[in-house]
């Protein structure tokens, strides 16, 4: 959206244009989205009461958010009762400082990480590297984009835009040797390379899909097993949890763990779900001696009690990305470095401020498919429309647009002005009209028609024809 949203908006326009102009990327996004949609459809069709399961997720998450202060206290008390440490961080800086301090105290040389979008959000890797430690992402997709120095393309499939040859080149550069074969061979290389890291790592950093308030348990979901390795092998485990990611008790996990994998990967269950309750106990043979749970606000508490509070019900399934027609065209990078798709278009402005991200709510066709597929029944499309209204109410919109809409409103109230205006516009547009479609033109018209088809105006307006008794059929005889 030209003129809206500051420097990030310019990057949005540039990255969208790059993605739209990249034929290979366009095919890749479409193939992945089609595959994910089909698997999600099959997995959902298996449960005849699927909609009721989503209602349950929505109700439990809404209840938790409504009583978040009580559940946060209960959760923190229980983590500590089981021997874990809890740190409440107001923002990314406090979280980074605390975790870097833990790493420094351990004199950690090697830190392994399981995929965590929150870690991306607070930019943890740079802070940990600054302590002198080697930081290694172990989720295969995160590992690939770490090597490529990129940000995630999708909240679940961070490297889903990478081709086989690109991945091969990255792995070859790392290993210093030629790697033959396809995905299986490349994955085998990553397993071998990362296994060595796991066995000697001093610290493991993971996300937390759900925190269970009644037990102080950290629930981590993964398919590859890297999250299990990260949370089991190193002597210290640091779990990052968004302030909002709690459920009241173990039983409440049922709907979450039933809906999440179906909406996310189109499977009945991910390969691994771990419910971790405290650090290693005296009689345990393995597991980390230290567990730190870092509860991070970073803008979330501001959303509580406000008009957009339901966004905090999100369980990060990614279904809104997988079904979004805008994501299908522009991919994940245009939205910014962390959250993409409809969830990103709502969450990023709320977390980081609307002024710099006023363009994001406009990255939607408002087709409402995100509302339909959302696991937690978040009214994403309504929020996008409401955020647009906030943009205008806050004076963050484009002045030219504003003047244009004001002019439009005035003209529609005055039939004479409207009709003469239309006639002039019709004449003017004819300069750039070829085969019934307007292309090019000055200023906004040129930019508008760069990527859109604008049909030329009919020779005679509806009003004119109406006055003549509608003798000609619209579209014919003009």
């Amino acid at each position: 959206m030209a003129g809206i949203g500051g420097p990030d908006a310019a990057a949005f326009a540039q990255k969208s244009a790059d993605a739209l102009g990249d034929d290979v990327l366009q095919r890749t996004i479409r193939t992945r989205q089609d595959g994910r949609q089909e698997r999600q459809r099959q997995a959902v069709a298996e449960l005849p009461d699927w909609e009721a399961w989503k209602d349950a997720v929505s109700a439990i998450r809404a209840h938790t958010i409504e009583h978040l202060d009580l559940y946060l206290e209960q959760f923190a008390d229980n983590v500590e009762r089981r021997g874990g440490h809890v740190f409440f961080a107001r923002d990314g800086t406090e979280a980074r400082d605390y975790i870097a301090q833990v790493a420094s105290k351990l004199d950690a040389r090697l830190i392994v990480k399981a995929k965590s979008m929150l870690s991306e959000e607070i930019g943890l890797n740079d802070a940990l590297s600054a302590t002198g430690a080697e930081v290694v992402e172990t989720d295969l997709g995160e590992f690939i984009i770490q090597l490529a120095h990129e940000t995630p393309f999708h909240i679940l499939g961070p490297a889903s835009h990478k081709t086989l040859d690109e991945i091969r080149e990255l792995f070859e550069a790392l290993s210093g040797r030629q790697l033959e074969g396809g995905p299986v061979e490349l994955a085998a290389f990553a397993r071998e390379y990362l296994r060595e890291k796991f066995l000697i790592a001093d610290m493991g950093v993971s996300g937390c899909n759900f925190g269970v308030a009644s037990e102080g348990s950290v629930v981590v979901v993964s398919n590859e097993g890297n999250a299990r390795l990260t949370t089991s092998l190193p002597g210290t485990h640091v779990a990052l949890m968004g302030l909002d990611r709690l459920v009241p008790d173990l039983e409440s996990l049922g709907p979450m763990l039933t809906v999440l994998p179906r909406s996310a990967n189109g499977v009945r269950s991910t390969a691994y779900v771990s419910i971790i309750t405290g650090p290693r106990r005296p009689q345990d043979q393995d597991g980390p001696q230290d567990l730190h749970v870092v509860i991070i606000d970073n803008g979330r508490s501001r959303i509580l009690g406000g008009p957009y509070r339901e966004i905090l019900k999100c369980i990060r399934c990614g279904a809104c990305l997988d079904n979004c027609p805008v994501y299908r065209n522009i991919g994940g990078h245009a939205y910014g470095p962390v959250y993409s798709g409809p969830i990103g278009a709502v969450l990023t402005p709320l977390l980081k401020g609307l002024a710099d991200h006023a363009h994001l709510p406009f990255a939607s066709s408002l087709c409402y498919v995100c509302n339909d597929v959302c696991s937690a029944r978040i009214p994403l499309a309504d929020y996008l429309a409401d955020l647009r209204a906030d943009v205008v109410a806050g004076g963050l919109d484009n002045r030219i647009w504003r003047a244009g809409f004001r002019g439009f409103a005035e003209a529609t109230r005055r039939p004479l002005v409207w009709e003469s205006g239309l006639r002039m516009a019709g004449l003017g547009l004819r300069f750039w009209e070829r085969d019934g479609v307007v292309r090019g033109g000055p200023s906004l018209l040129g930019r508008w028609t760069e990527s859109r088809d604008l049909p030329g105006l009919a020779k005679h307006s509806f009003h004119e024809r109406w006055r003549k008794g509608m003798t000609s059929v619209p579209g014919e005889g003009d």
């Binding site: 193939t31 992945r32 595959g35 009721a52 349950a56 109700a59 439990i60 009583h67 202060d69 009580l70 923190a76 409440f88 107001r90 406090e94 295969l140 997709g141 499939g157 961070p158 889903s160 990478k162 081709t163 086989l164 991945i167 396809g182 995905p183 994955a187 397993r191 990362l194 296994r195 066995l199 009644s214 037990e215 590859e224 097993g225 890297n226 299990r228 390795l229 089991s232 039983e251 409440s252 049922g254 709907p255 039933t258 990967n265 009945r268 269950s269 390969a271 691994y272 779900v273 771990s274 419910i275 309750t277 106990r281 009689q283 345990d284 043979q285 393995d286 597991g287 508490s301 009690g305």
Partner: protein
């Protein structure tokens, strides 16, 4: 300090003025699945799920037979087995290794199995190590027929019923380790075991 400050801002946003417990969370009673009432149906569905997940299943009548089955599978392959002490039967001893990272096969006892998803539930802590089911390239689970439940909710309710005995780590394992992070192609054994065996113990 940070804790109180943050909780205070959460309370303020929620407009809560006084302390008090949260009301009971909403409970969901899903439509009963058609297989839930019959143990035979649950077992059948669990076995179907294993086949779909690419897990090799064999049934053994009693625990002693399992020893022979393991020996048959692994003896010929000259494999080094890792397992917790209660499974280190005489037949296993010659193949047993102390070093989990160097082992070829992890042997575990399932606490429960879930018919609907085909998941194996492992409680870990004490002598049951987490890495036994994680580091070796292949893993095998003993599943007693009587421990197969219909749904995840059944397991969660059992765990919730005795919170004081909740182990350090409960893991649900559903098929082999898998990833589609390289060009969307499903590859197995990316970090965890790529090969999974299940021995269903009929009478226990």
């Amino acid at each position: 300090m940070e804790r109180e400050r943050l909780l205070q801002s959460v309370r303020a946003r929620l407009g809560r003025t006084q302390d008090g417990g949260a009301p009971a969370p909403p409970r969901f009673r899903p439509m009963a699945p058609p297989f839930a009432d019959s143990e035979d149906d649950c077992v059948r569905l669990f076995l179907e799920r294993q086949a779909e997940l690419g897990v090799a299943v064999s049934a053994v009548a009693v625990r002693d037979e399992a020893q022979t089955a393991v020996q048959q599978l692994l003896g010929d392959r000259r494999q080094r087995i890792t397992c917790s002490p209660e499974l280190c039967w005489p037949a296993i001893v010659p193949m047993w290794t102390e070093s989990v990272p160097d082992s070829d096969f992890g042997l575990c006892e399932a606490d429960w199995a879930i018919a609907e998803t085909g998941s194996i539930v492992l409680s870990m802590g004490g002598l049951r190590r987490r890495d036994v089911s994680l580091l070796p390239p292949a893993v095998g689970f003993f599943v007693a027929r009587s421990r197969i439940v219909a749904r995840l909710g059944d397991v969660l309710r059992s765990l919730a019923a005795s919170p004081d005995s909740l182990p350090t780590c409960v893991t649900l394992v559903t098929g082999p380790s898998a990833s589609a992070d390289i060009v969307g192609v499903r590859t197995l054994g990316v970090h965890g075991p790529g090969e999974v065996h299940v021995w269903l113990v009929e009478n226990e």
